[in-house]
Symmetry: C2
């Protein structure tokens, strides 16, 4: 199909498609004349993947490129492909908590990891994010919100195991890689949405008509 | 303290503090001379809250303003304050899935909500996000990743109940509101980080040295 039809079928504007082509997120189409290219199902599929990462998971375009390069590599270990997916949804954080709060948060996370026997790269971006978030809660006098960390980890481990079982259910190795990477990134959006819905339901039942004074 | 000291203690650059003052995210300091204002502990605390929302939870500045207005209101029902927190971490999505995929995803989510007896506003942003994400997975031939939705919801409900218990443990009503709103937003960052760490640990054990062919 021509670019106009690719745009119509995918719902992605032509200038955006051209931008992805320039940035090598999308492979070039097959030239049918010096000024015209033709695009196939693989382009449509890739385009939909890009939009899901950008729109639903809010991944910056540069990180989308990292993720796709990982997916397309035939030699990169799967663990590294997953690492690219993790970095895509864990932006670098600036640090504004007090050092005492950060020290306490680091100790709490280290204890958690040791207790659970988790094998974690000390450079993992999610490790910094978790420590900084717990430190921020302490700095904001919300330390009580960090008390149940171990129970959260229990529940999180449960659905993570389910997720891993789902992504590894694919028959072909390259399908597993694609499924793991997409599942890692869009799975976060699913869990976050479910959490907000569960919370909204509890909130609606408890607090809908209440102001602070009545809560 | 003067603005330079507020900057030093908080780690936030002076121009950024001035920007927050102009945008009314931070209340003005107390004027000590026509050209000089003094800032107190309340400013430092508010500044840290702003940075935690912006840096750790990636909330856009305009949404931070919504959240803070909610927190400062003495008449807004708590449920609406929570709604502002939800919108802050659930950006509007563009829609690129096929309509058949969206229809199937809508049916799946409706069944989930009915089965669990959740009380959900049909306009809830997380509802759209969940449906669009499930539709995207179907469009990307990853429908098998949506099969365990109900088990995910089980696990999510568990830690959401723990979270609600934690935020409502505060003695004063305005402390509850603050704790609910901060917990809603930063709780997402905690859960997302824990999920990536749990996943990394599983991945490290299974796939660290493997390429696709060996997975």
């Amino acid at each position: 199909m021509r670019i106009a039809e690719l745009s119509r079928v995918s719902g992605v504007p032509v200038p955006t498609i051209k931008y992805y082509l320039r940035e090598n997120l999308l492979p070039p189409g097959e030239l049918t004349s010096p000024n015209q290219a033709s695009y196939g199902e693989a382009h449509l599929r890739r385009l939909r993947l890009i939009r899901a990462l950008v729109d639903l998971a809010q991944v910056p375009v540069a990180r989308v490129k990292d993720v796709l390069e990982g997916l397309d590599s035939e030699t990169m270990p799967l663990h590294d492909k997953i690492g690219r997916a993790h970095r895509a949804i864990t932006p670098q954080r600036q640090l504004t908590s007090t050092s005492a709060a950060r020290e306490a948060a680091t100790a709490q996370v280290t204890a958690l990891i040791n207790t659970r026997g988790w094998s974690i790269d000390p450079e993992a971006p999610a490790l910094t994010t978790l420590i900084e978030t717990l430190a921020a809660l302490r700095t904001l006098d919300q330390e009580h919100l960090t008390d149940s960390l171990d129970s959260y980890a229990d529940a999180v481990e449960k659905f993570t195991e389910l997720e891993v079982a789902a992504v590894t259910s694919r028959p072909a190795p390259d399908e597993i890689a694609e499924s793991v990477v997409i599942g890692t990134i869009l799975g976060e959006t699913i869990i976050a949405s479910l959490r907000l819905l569960a919370q909204e339901s509890i909130s609606a039942k408890r607090w809908k008509a209440l102001t602070d004074d009545q809560a």
